[in-house]
Symmetry: C2
Subunit: 541 residues, 2 copies
Amino acid sequence: MYKSTHHAIAGAHLHADGKCLFRIWAPLKQTVALHIVSPEERRIPLTRSTDGYFETEVADCPAATHYYFNPDGEGDFPDPASHFQPEGVHGPSAVVDHGTFTWSDQAWENPALSELILYELHVGTFTEAGTFDAIIPYLEDLAAMGINAIELMPVAQFPGHRNWGYDGTFPYAVHASYGGPDGLKRLVDACHRRGIAVILDVVYNHLGPEGNYFNAFAPYFTDAYRTPWGSALNFDGPWSDGVRDYFTANAIHWFHHYHIDGLRLDAIHAIIDTGATHALQYINEVVASYAQQARKPLHLIAESDLNAPRVIQSTKTNGYGFDAQWLDDFHHALFVLLYPVGKEQYEDFGTLAQLAKAYTEGFVHSGEYVSARQRKYGASSAGIPGFKFVAFIQNHDQVGNHKNGERLSVLLSGAQLRIAAAALLLSPYIPMLFMGEEYGEERPFLYFTSHDDPQLVEQIREGRRQEFAHFFGDGEPPDPQDEKTFKASILDWPKRGQGKYQQLLMWYQRLIHLRRTHTALHNFNKTGTEVDVLSESAWSL
Amino acid sequence: MYKSTHHAIAGAHLHADGKCLFRIWAPLKQTVALHIVSPEERRIPLTRSTDGYFETEVADCPAATHYYFNPDGEGDFPDPASHFQPEGVHGPSAVVDHGTFTWSDQAWENPALSELILYELHVGTFTEAGTFDAIIPYLEDLAAMGINAIELMPVAQFPGHRNWGYDGTFPYAVHASYGGPDGLKRLVDACHRRGIAVILDVVYNHLGPEGNYFNAFAPYFTDAYRTPWGSALNFDGPWSDGVRDYFTANAIHWFHHYHIDGLRLDAIHAIIDTGATHALQYINEVVASYAQQARKPLHLIAESDLNAPRVIQSTKTNGYGFDAQWLDDFHHALFVLLYPVGKEQYEDFGTLAQLAKAYTEGFVHSGEYVSARQRKYGASSAGIPGFKFVAFIQNHDQVGNHKNGERLSVLLSGAQLRIAAAALLLSPYIPMLFMGEEYGEERPFLYFTSHDDPQLVEQIREGRRQEFAHFFGDGEPPDPQDEKTFKASILDWPKRGQGKYQQLLMWYQRLIHLRRTHTALHNFNKTGTEVDVLSESAWSL
């Protein structure tokens, strides 16, 4: 077990001697009981320790022991820091033995972030089987085309079997139907043996609505701020220390137990903290200190809708200290140029000068008035090195938020796809592909769920309808809850060996090879990037 | 009229040629009409200009013209950027001619902030008359004891005649019963002639509940955040540009029209802005650029409950860029040592080591767990020069938030008062006295209001009761709405020439003289300050 010098770590921690330490944060509760439901039913009162935690050590507690916590006798609830929910979000938590997996990645060295060619991947739809294990046979193909990092969409336990992963409610648990903890370890180990790093998408800005038992234990939420998904997590109010530590320890959890090489933090703009040390600064500082101790680089990448340089600036200058952030503006600028209908969705984009700015500065909106936001937005990122940004021409969000989940491959011509690929792979940024992009997969990537709660299902349907009410023409978007919507989104991998698909794949492969072998094409000095806009329809890089 | 290069300035701007420009921000309105009610009734439609502003220029518009704005025909409302509300918060706005006042302060040079000995003053209770003019005869006394800056509690128009000023609803208007715009100008001019700078307390974190017509015009408020006083002002959402510019131009308004030397921004922790450029950073940058243009130093001081160094750090390193901030921890540390009952209110204070830290670092709470806040709080200010902090042993809040408005003079012995004065005036911080402190005024400084709305009056009474429910013993706090409460708070100035009052006054005078004449006692290098804690009841500086 990793011992933090910063904070207590919640959850069930099984030691080599068979003893398991159970720890839960419940600062306002008088009692917490551990209810072991199998293999042998037991009820054990926890002891109050420091900082609002309760804990107990249980001898002879085998892996896969199923348990609940019962705060103040109010009922059995799964552990918010559960490592495994074998029966889903409503079932018991299971003790995981992290000591039994045999790692074979001793030779693995995580490259610098600037060396990576990222590949965003959704476990459920990458293969028919939708598991971690099913991905492994394809790693060779990815490595062959030059991919050296996969970025997994969230794998934390979410309700049901089909979900993008952003509505998870057990941020420490590896989704059971993906293959659970051991499945993820097998995938990471296989990646490392093939020279592929693994970045994991984690959600620290909200918790999903279904299977959310957090309020049963502690004040994880605050009324002081609102997010697009309801009450904000409590990162700066009374009792926020436990919330900050819960998510900070979560980051370490993935590095420590799963050999993850980096995290992509979802929508960090919805993590509101007005205190002296922003929660994100705290997480970055703790991870940096852990990385130093572990003697390996560990990457933290932010998804940020702020266009704020502080996100990627040093914590020494009041920045959050992320290693890099997603550069949405690059996508928007390029997309609307190639697909003018896209202006319905990205109304403030559409000029070549903006694409040139995306190349030479980064943020296209750096303080000017932006119609879609009805205010002045962003600050300049000129002068910030290119390796602080991840660029892409499509990702899960942009594809999935087209009404019919259209990828670029069905919106653009073959020539345009090749231009877009070159625009990305020769850019002064860390490039990221979205699974299937490399061979022009035409199957959609749709929004899908499999919630139990009928009211929630209807809310989500209605939300999708409203989202598309203003653009992309008439007609209903596909039903997220319908299994067909999910099935339609599964990649058709064999295509990549055929005809135009193969040609595009070879184009990507060649561009990646060029990028990785030519210093000038692997240049993160944006100020050294010259963009000549030849006319409103022609430019050279 | 000061012309901003940054933003349009709302309000009525009377030019030398007798023309008056009326401008109002109402981005979601279709029409706005100007309704002049005197001297001659006129209704004039405004023209939509840029950025959501409406404006019109009216010829032959004398000073004191009374007017309302009527947005979308929804009714007459006073101007949110009114410079004068002669009939109070519910009456018409009045045009002010800023060109007629004859300034005689041409020789005045605003000293560096580090040179100042501040004196906090409430206009309504400093004298029986409660006006700006009534203060002028006392300036000589203040100057004689070494005060070279008064800090006026808010003078913006508030409801009724008695109020601390923090519930103002016309941030640009000078309170009518204090003497209105010309009264303030006479006071500032008189101060400058006597070598006294004027700092003005302004409230940019909320607007009072009574006489608040802001929602009639524009989305000044947001539901995204909550403050202790209800809905937060909209500094970062859609349409926030107008709100940011409204308050930024307000800062310039005081410097430009009233020759104010610095502003103290109330409770900046309640100004929530998660955007790329925090509203406070924006205000500091605009003021710095105005100060450069005007070729004079202008001070911005924050009241901050964050214990966050970023408040006083440079905008170049993602700080807010304030020149200084109030150092509440210094007060709390000293107060509880001198008055142990104070621990009821400041439960996390009470050791000499904390006072030593207040001297050598600044923030006493710099990241440790604080019981009163139920979380870890603050970050270290070690190494930040002392001139970035304003220290005090009592201010309007701390006195007024004792149940019976008790000043130190009634809580401490004469010897203790002298120790406290020395602890402040020999500190490595900019010292601030609260009016009457210098001679040990024993009259209280109570919380008082004179609202019209009976429901609001009852809410405030109940709020005070709850505030004191947990400490300072039993019994009702004085009724804020009762005029006696206000009257009881008026200084008894003649006392300062008598007996123990005079002795204390001379002690203050001597300490200030020592501070101003001895380099070693005028030292803002905290690291050069050695504090020896001799025992838990003795220390030397």
